[in-house]
């Protein structure tokens, strides 16, 4: 009953204001039955705050972190066959994932839309490796290659370098809590 009340109020608000966003993972709100009704009222239903931010084209935390890691390596993209301008021109970041290393992200993978020097946009898969020692690496793949990239990259990142002292201390605290 409460689901239907929320649905009815959401539709009413959307109609009144020419559009609205409902944050919900409820089956009643995300199912096919209400889709047409929602579209007619310009009601967008998204499952999380992050999806709502994407809808409004506001930078999400995962996109922000990925761009932070990519920025120092941006100038290497043309050598990877991606004709991007000198300044960072990421239009969108999707499906970003990270694997944590001793001092922050060690590995990152995302599908990004970049603006090329020609002005056109292109979607590519970008893989970043930022080891605590040694140079960072960037690899660019065509968007369709994502499956093979994911499997190989995540497997190799599953063996990160030895943890640092701060991490060991945190592990030790947990071991004490567990009574080890």
């Amino acid at each position: 009953m409460r689901d239907l009340v929320i649905w009815a109020i959401s539709l009413r608000v959307a109609k009144l204001h020419g559009g609205a966003v409902l944050l919900s993972r409820d089956k009643i709100h995300t199912g096919e039955l209400g889709r047409v009704e929602a579209e007619a009222a310009k009601l967008s239903v998204v499952p999380s705050v992050d999806d709502a931010l994407r809808l409004f084209k506001i930078e999400t935390p995962d996109a922000k972190l990925f761009i932070e890691l990519l920025t120092p390596l941006w100038k290497e993209l043309p050598a990877q066959g991606l004709a991007v301008p000198a300044e960072v021109s990421v239009v969108d970041v999707r499906n970003a994932r990270f694997v944590r290393g001793p001092s922050g992200a060690l590995f990152a993978l995302a599908t990004i839309h970049v603006r090329l020097e020609s002005g056109a946009e292109k979607a590519v898969v970008v893989q970043l490796r930022t080891p605590p020692e040694g140079p960072s690496e960037v690899h660019v793949f065509e968007a369709g290659e994502i499956a093979s990239v994911e499997a190989s990259a995540l497997t190799s990142a599953a063996a990160p370098p030895a943890p640092d002292r701060a991490y060991e201390e945190r592990l030790e605290r947990l071991r004490k809590v567990l009574g080890e």
Partner: protein, 142 residues
């Protein structure tokens, strides 16, 4: 282990809070750690409110999302709200506040669980207070 967590007192229990195959532990400073016991060995996924090393994750507005090796979103951790919300896992969300442990709409408050394998267990089928450790789980060691 002996542990006070979310106003519950767990005495001589092996796993204070078992969420599916994952042990959830909150230390005295209220930091959450999550250990997956579903494999051959215990796999630390969250250490003191942060993703553990070698674990795929994505930062989110409320905290971070833990993923499996294929990139499937498993659950979301909110270090501020002290909540764990399933994404692809079919479990009830858990929130550990100072005065209670909330599992879905159920609230555990000021219980003492002593001498059981598991203090509070959350499965796809229900919730239990005080029980044995399900077979097939790895030992809780990190």
């Amino acid at each position: 282990m002996n542990l006070r967590m979310g106003s519950q007192l767990f005495i001589d229990v092996q796993i204070p809070l078992l969420w599916g195959t994952r042990a959830i532990v909150q230390d005295p400073e209220e930091r959450l750690s999550i250990i997956n016991l579903g494999g051959d060995r215990a796999l630390l996924e969250v250490l003191e409110d942060e993703p553990a090393q070698g674990i795929p994750f994505a930062p989110s507005v409320e905290g971070f999302v833990i993923m499996d090796a294929q990139g499937t979103e498993l659950y979301k951790v909110s270090p501020v709200a002290k909540s764990i919300t399933p994404l692809s896992l079919k479990l009830l969300p858990v929130t550990i506040s100072r005065d209670a442990i909330r599992v879905g709409t159920n609230t555990f408050q000021s219980n003492m669980v002593s001498g059981f394998g598991v203090g509070i267990s959350v499965t796809e089928n229900g919730i239990g207070l005080g029980g044995s450790v399900p077979p097939g789980l790895a030992a809780l060691r990190v």
